[in-house]
């Protein structure tokens, strides 16, 4: 009986701790930015990156390739402490390095209508800003995608 009570108490405590640890994750920078690229600006299939935004917590970034996009979007996370940088050496280490074909590993292909949580080490590695690096896999079509540096 006593043993049973101890087990129940332990389970309840565990549930409380897990719930608390999830909810303590204070508000990050979770609002979306939408990137719209007209077909005229989608001509060369080269890697791009969206705007630098504050990375406030240790959560994954998030990206949704909107349904109206004309093709698959290959994405990865980039990081910096200098929003004015023009360097390409800003790929988060989870995604390897920059190349003309995009990040060298773990880049995620997102089809129109799909979304994905993008793992990263931006905050862990001491960087303040994050963005989405991307390649529009299909040229000369319109793309629209939403992303946020943190997630809920």
């Amino acid at each position: 009986m006593k043993k049973t009570k101890k087990i129940v108490a332990l389970m309840l405590a565990l549930v409380t701790v897990i719930t608390a640890s999830v909810s303590v994750n204070a508000v990050g920078n979770v609002n979306d930015t939408i990137v719209n690229v007209d077909k005229e600006n989608n001509q060369d299939g080269t890697p791009r990156r969206s705007i630098w935004r504050d990375k406030r917590d240790y959560t994954s970034s998030w990206c949704e390739n909107k349904k109206k996009s004309g093709g698959v979007l290959t994405t990865w996370v980039e990081r910096t402490n200098n929003r004015g940088t023009s360097s390409v050496n800003t790929v988060d280490r989870y995604y390897g390095k920059w190349s003309y074909n995009g990040a060298t590993k773990n880049a995620r292909k997102i089809k129109p209508g799909q979304h994905y949580y993008l793992k990263n080490y931006v905050k862990e590695d001491g960087y303040k800003y994050a963005t989405i690096g991307y390649i529009m896999n299909k040229e000369k079509v319109k793309y629209s995608f939403a992303w946020s540096p943190d997630s809920v």
């Binding site: 508000v27 979306d32 504050d54 004309g70 089809k111 979304h115």
Partner: protein
């Protein structure tokens, strides 16, 4: 017997709860890939290849000085008139929401900044003078501190008057044809940066375009 049964039920519920939380965490962190499990039909829309009237003279995106106005060609059938009306620097909340997250600034319970940062409030008019809706976000308006190649600040709030500023679509702006929107777009900038560079501040409008482009034009007040 009853006590035993209820104990088993409690333990089972707790165990299920823990498993659900753990799976949810793993999905969120990408440990479990669910992107193809829950995806709907892959309805890729083919672009209409019909040629529209040439809009080569109109930029897609541009930098604006205070008082400047111009029309941007965002995409086929979507041209947008933009006017950067005014800039105001303040430490107090005005006609705009509290910031969506706590940054490096310190604020009191009213949202008044109490350390060496200030709100830079930029009033901007946006009107879709095209024939189709255009969905973008207000946080595509960036504040460049010292010219086109300098660092820039992202929007921290605006006059949405929405109760919930943490929602993912907080910054969404669905620009319908002939609708005019007036935004108070707010940035939080260090006071020493404001003192040094405020006369060089530029608003960069990136409603359409793959990334920030330092070659985009600077629109001056006429």
């Amino acid at each position: 017997m009853n006590k035993k049964v209820s104990t088993i039920i409690i333990v089972s519920i707790c165990a299920i709860f823990i498993v659900v939380l753990a799976v949810g965490y793993m999905c969120k962190e990408g440990i479990i890939d669910t992107s193809n499990i829950f995806s709907g039909s892959n309805d890729v829309t083919e672009e209409n290849n019909s040629q529209s009237e040439s809009k080569e003279d109109m930029p897609h995106s541009a930098y604006f000085k205070v008082g400047a106005e111009t029309t941007l060609h965002l995409e086929e059938n979507v041209d947008t008139y933009i006017k950067y009306n005014s800039m105001n620097i303040t430490k107090k909340i005005g006609d705009f929401d509290k910031c969506t997250y706590q940054g490096d600034e310190k604020t009191d319970e009213n949202g008044t900044i109490t350390n060496d940062y200030s709100y830079v409030v930029c009033n901007i008019t946006v009107k879709n003078i095209g024939t189709e809706d255009f969905l973008t976000t207000v946080n595509n308006l960036l504040l460049f501190e010292n010219g086109r190649n300098s660092a820039y600040d992202e929007v921290r709030a605006y006059n949405s008057h929405l109760k919930n500023t943490v929602r993912k679509d907080y910054y969404y702006a669905n620009l319908k044809p002939n609708e005019e929107h007036n935004y108070n777009v707010v940035y939080v900038v260090k006071d020493d940066i404001i003192k040094k560079y405020k006369d060089n501040f530029l608003i960069y409008v990136l409603f359409s375009g793959p990334q920030v482009n330092p070659s985009d034009p600077i629109i001056e007040k006429k």
